[in-house]
Amino acid sequence: MKTLFILNNPSKLTTCLEAMAKDDGLLLIEDAVILTRKNIERKEISLQALNEDVTARGVNHTDPSWQLINYAKFVELTLTFDKSVTWL
């Protein structure tokens, strides 16, 4: 079963990536949107970030190579994947 990992704390990125298998997805929300693509070495992982959190912080300048999504898409993602785990 594919898992959607939801990350809100940038300092937990490393242990989160360790727990992720090949087909899993990573969604960055809240403070985790300050991460940049170069922080994430595993290129095979699908990556998204919550648009509202990016805009609120004005961190769009880093031109993240992951996809920006809204809350409607966030809900959809939790159903596209078989389950979610919020990595705290």
Partner: protein, 118 residues
């Protein structure tokens, strides 16, 4: 019945989350859900043998981990990398589970219906 895994990834006592996660785990066991417990990263420190939080006036809940089998928890995985990071060997920790690498841990997370951490 839906299965659930609990991921402990924080050291004990600085935060309350270990105890709070354990309480959810025990409740799910009362509902007879199939349960896996994982100690990952700094979470392996939850299992150190000779904890004495009473000197901080904090309750020692680590004893409850020893009772996980009695509560019907079949699988307990302990992250090998976490042990190594903290220079721990099996003699230093509660003998309640199997040492596992990250591939095995990933596999368990992928194969349960719910995963909870706090």
């Amino acid at each position: 019945m839906k299965s659930v895994c609990f991921i402990f990834n924080k050291p004990p006592y600085g935060q309350e989350s270990g105890k709070e996660l354990l309480d959810i785990c025990l409740m799910c066991s009362a509902f007879e859900m199939p349960i896996t417990v994982i100690f990952q990263g700094d979470g392996v420190l939850q299992l150190i043998e000779n904890q004495q939080p009473d000197i901080l006036n904090i309750k020692n809940y680590s004893k409850t981990f020893k009772a996980l089998k009695l509560y019907g928890v079949e699988t307990v995985l302990i992250d090998a990398a976490g042990l190594e990071k903290h220079q721990l060997v099996t003699e230093n920790i509660l003998n309640i589970g199997e040492i596992a690498n990250s591939k095995i841990i990933q596999n368990v997370i992928q194969n349960t219906d719910f995963s909870i951490m706090l």
